[in-house]
Symmetry: C2
C-alpha cells in the first residue's frame, strides 16, 4: 500500500489529404471527412481562423467557404470567420490567442466541434495552440497554405506561440484530426516562401532518403522555376517522410534524440541574430551547408557528397552564407552551440552527415574547424545554375 | 498520391507513492525517484510552486524543502519557491499562470527539469497547466495536499484554469511524471475539506466496486471522526480505482462516454448556482443523492440500496439538499441538464445506479420525476449518526 503504478497508451490517428481547390463546390473531400466523423443527427460546429496574408491573395475565400458549407446539414459554420495576421506576428501577440479563445466561448465551440486553421506555419501554430488549450483540446483541422506548412510544420504534432519574444516558449503536442494540403494556395506564395520550405525537404532527404535527394537534385532547377508538378511531389514525399519519422520515433519528444534537428543548431541562432529577417528555411539551408562543410573538414563527408549538397541548395536559390555567421564569438553563431547544448539538457547531440541519406551523431564540435567551415562558405564561388 | 494516414501511440507512465512526511530528512522517496530519473552527471533543476494555504499550516515547509535538497548533487533547487494563493482563486487569476511561466523562463527550466506543485486540487490544476504549456510540456511532479487531490484530481491526467469565470475553460491532458501523496498534509485540513474529498470515493465505489462501498459504510463514522488509518485506506483505494479507470478507458477523453461523471451534471450546476460556496465534493454528494433518489423513483434502485447510499453520505457529514436545487426552473438546477447535454455534444448520457457497484446509462431524464426527487430530498429526515 505504498505505491501504485500507472501506464497507458493513447492512440492518435489523422490523415493528410492532397488536393487542388479544397473549397470548390464539387470538391467533396472536406465534406466527406466531416460526414464520416459525424456520429448522430447532430450538427457539429466549425470555427474557421484564417491567415490575413492568404485572404489578401484569395479575397473570395471567405465567400467560398460560406458557400461550401451552406448546403451541408451535419455541420454548421459559425457566423464569423476569424482573421489573424500572417507570419511571425501571429505568434507574437497574446491578444490573438485570446481572440480565438473568445470566439470558442462566444460560439459555444466544444470538444465535439472543430477549429479549422487556414494559413502558413505561423498561423497554424497559433490556431493549433489555442485549440489545444481550449476545453482541454478541441478537434483541430489544419489547412496549410505554404510549402513549409504543407510538408513539415502543418502536418506534425506540435504547435506554439512566442512569449516575450522567446520563440515557441508556449505550446503543446496536439495532433490535428485531419490535414488538407491544397496545392492551389502555393501559387500565390512569394519567391522566398516558395523556396524556403524546400530546405526541410532537402534536410529530410539528406538524413533519411538518398533516392529522394537524387530526385530533388534532378528537379532542382524545375523547383526553383516554380514547376508545380515537381513541387507537388516534393511536398507529398517530404510530408510522408516526416509522418513516418513521427510515427516511428518519439512523437511527443519525451526522450532527447532529435535527428530532425539536422542543420538547426546554427539555424535557430541565425534567425535570432538576424532579427528573423532570415526565413526559417533560409537559415536551415545555411545551417546544413555549415554542418556539411564541417563534416567534410572532419573527414566525415566526401568531396563529391559535399559538392552535391551545396550545389543543390544553390540551385534551389538558397544563399549559403550570411554575415551573421561571422559575428564576433561572444554574440555569434558559435554561441548557438552552447545554447543548443543547454536546450538538450546539458549533453550536446549534433547529427553530421556521413554520406547522402545517412548521418551520425557527435557530442562535440571543434570551434576552430567550425570557424574554418564558416570561412570557406564566406568565400565560396556559387554554383552557376544553368537555365 | 492523395492521402497519407498517420497513426501512432504515445505511452505514459507514472507512479503514485504514499508516505507520511515526504520532506523528512530520512525519507528518501523523492530523492530516489529523482536519482533514478537522472541520466548523466547532469544536474536537473527543480522549480517548486506551493499553495499558500498549505504554507499557512506548515510555515517551515520552505526550509524543510531547502534542507531536503541541500545535500543532493544530481538536482538543483532554483532560488525561489514560488507561492500562489490556494483554492479556486488560484485558477481564476491569469497573472498566476504568468508568474509560473516567468519563473520557468527566469530559472531556465527546460524539458529536462521539473516543475513541482504542492497543494490542493486548485493549485495543482494551475501548476499542471503552466507546466504543460511551457516548452510544450515540462516534467511535472504533483504533491497533493487535500483528500480530493490525493484520491482524484491530483493523480489523474487533467489540469486547467478558469477563464473569464468559466470553470476549467483552459487546460490540457498532461500526465505527471510522478505523484507523492503525503498523508501528513491531511491533518491540517479543515472539516469541509477533509469531508468533501470523500464524495469522490463514494462515487467511484458506487459505480465500480461494491466491496469498497461496504468498507466505506462500515467505516463512515470513523472517517467522519478523522480516523487517519481509515482515511489513508480510503485515499489509497480510491486512487487505485481512479487509476484503473483511466488506464482501462479513454485517458484523454477522445470519445464521449464519461462514467466518472456520476452525480456530476447537477453538481456542476449547483457549484455555479451557489457561487462556489459549495465545495465540489459537497455538490457531488447532493448530485449523487438526487440521481439515486431519481433512480429509485424510476424503479432502478431498491429501497434498501437507496437508503444505504443516503445514510452513508449523511454519516460522512454531507448535506443532501441545498436550496439552490429548488430555484425556479429557468435558472435552476434542471437547466444543468440541458447544459450537460450540450457539453456532451447534443446527446445526453447520464449514469444511473441499478445497484451498489453498478450503473446503467440513460439518455433522458424526466423533469417531473426529478422535481419529485428534489422534493423528497428537501423533506428528508436525516439519518442519526450514533457516535
Ligand atoms: N509546429 C511545427 O512543428 C513547426 C515546424 C517548423 C516551423 N514551424 C513554424 O512555422 C512558422 C513559419 O511558417 P511558414 O514558413 O509557413 O511561414 P508563415 O506562416 O510565417 O507565413 C509567411 C508569409 O506567407 C503568407 N502566406 C501564407 N500563405 C500564403 C499563400 N498561400 N500565398 C501568399 N502568402 C501566403 C503569410 O501571411 C505570411 O506573411 C514559424 O513560426 C516556425 O516556427 C512550426
Ligand atoms: N484535474 C482534475 O482532474 C480535477 C478533478 C476534480 C477536481 N479538480 C479541481 O480541484 C479543485 C478543488 O481541489 P481541492 O478540493 O483539493 O481544494 P482546493 O485546492 O480548492 O483547496 C481548498 C483549500 O484548502 C487549502 N489547503 C490545501 N491543502 C491544505 C492542507 N494540507 N491543510 C490545510 N489547508 C489546505 C487550500 O489553500 C484552499 O484554501 C477544483 O478547482 C476542481 O475543479 C480537478
Ligand atoms: Zn525546421
Ligand atoms: Zn468530481
Amino acid at each position: 500500500m505504498n505505491q501504485l503504478n500507472q501506464s497507458f497508451s493513447v492512440r492518435f490517428t489523422y490523415s493528410i489529404s492532397f488536393t487542388d481547390g479544397l473549397f470548390d463546390s464539387h470538391n467533396t473531400l472536406l465534406a466527406d471527412f466531416l460526414a464520416a466523423q459525424s456520429t448522430e443527427a447532430l450538427r457539429k460546429k466549425l470555427l474557421f481562423v484564417i491567415d490575413a496574408g492568404v485572404l489578401a491573395h484569395f479575397p473570395d475565400l471567405g465567400d467560398q467557404i460560406r458557400d461550401y458549407f451552406a448546403g451541408q446539414t451535419n455541420v454548421e459554420l459559425v457566423d464569423d470567420l476569424v482573421t489573424v495576421p500572417g507570419g511571425e506576428p501571429a505568434k507574437n501577440d497574446p491578444a490573438l490567442v485570446e481572440r480565438i479563445i473568445d470566439a470558442v466561448d462566444r460560439y459555444g465551440i466544444d470538444r465535439h466541434s472543430y477549429v479549422v486553421g487556414v494559413g502558413g506555419g505561423s498561423v497554424l501554430d497559433l490556431v493549433g495552440y489555442a485549440a489545444a488549450i481550449a476545453h482541454r483540446g478541441i478537434r483541430h483541422i489544419r489547412i496549410p497554405t505554404t510549402v513549409l506548412s504543407q510538408n513539415d510544420s502543418g502536418i506534425g504534432v506540435k504547435n506554439g506561440v512566442n512569449y516575450r519574444g522567446k520563440k515557441n516558449f508556449l505550446g503543446t503536442f496536439a495532433p490535428p484530426v485531419a490535414v488538407f494540403n491544397d496545392y492551389r494556395f502555393l501559387r500565390t506564395l512569394d519567391e522566398r516562401d516558395w523556396r524556403s520550405g524546400m530546405a526541410e525537404a532537402v534536410k529530410v532527404a539528406l538524413i533519411k532518403d538518398a533516392p529522394f535527394f537524387d530526385w530533388i537534385e534532378a528537379n532542382a532547377l524545375a523547383l526553383a522555376n516554380r514547376n508545380e508538378a515537381a513541387m507537388q511531389y516534393l511536398v507529398y514525399r517530404c510530408a510522408e517522410l516526416h509522418m513516418n519519422h513521427i510515427a516511428g520515433g518519439d512523437p511527443f519528444e519525451q526522450g532527447s534524440s532529435r535527428p530532425l534537428d539536422f542543420g538547426h543548431w546554427s539555424a535557430h541562432k541565425l534567425e535570432q541574430l538576424t532579427g528573423f529577417s532570415l526565413r526559417h528555411g533560409e537559415a536551415v539551408a545555411i545551417g546544413m551547408a555549415l554542418d556539411c562543410q564541417y563534416a567534410h573538414l572532419l573527414g566525415y563527408l566526401s568531396d563529391e557528397d559535399l559538392n552535391r549538397v551545396l550545389a543543390v541548395l544553390e540551385t534551389l536559390g538558397f544563399a549559403l552564407y550570411d554575415p551573421a555567421l561571422d559575428q564576433d564569438d561572444s554574440a555569434g553563431v558559435l554561441r548557438g552551440l552552447g545554447e543548443f547544448r543547454e536546450h538538450l539538457g546539458g549533453r550536446l547531440t549534433i547529427l553530421l552527415l556521413r554520406g547522402i541519406g545517412y548521418g551520425e551523431e557527435v557530442n562535440e564540435m571543434d570551434e576552430t574547424l567550425l570557424r574554418q567551415a564558416i570561412h570557406l562558405l564566406a568565400n565560396r564561388q556559387p554554383t552557376l545554375a544553368l537555365d
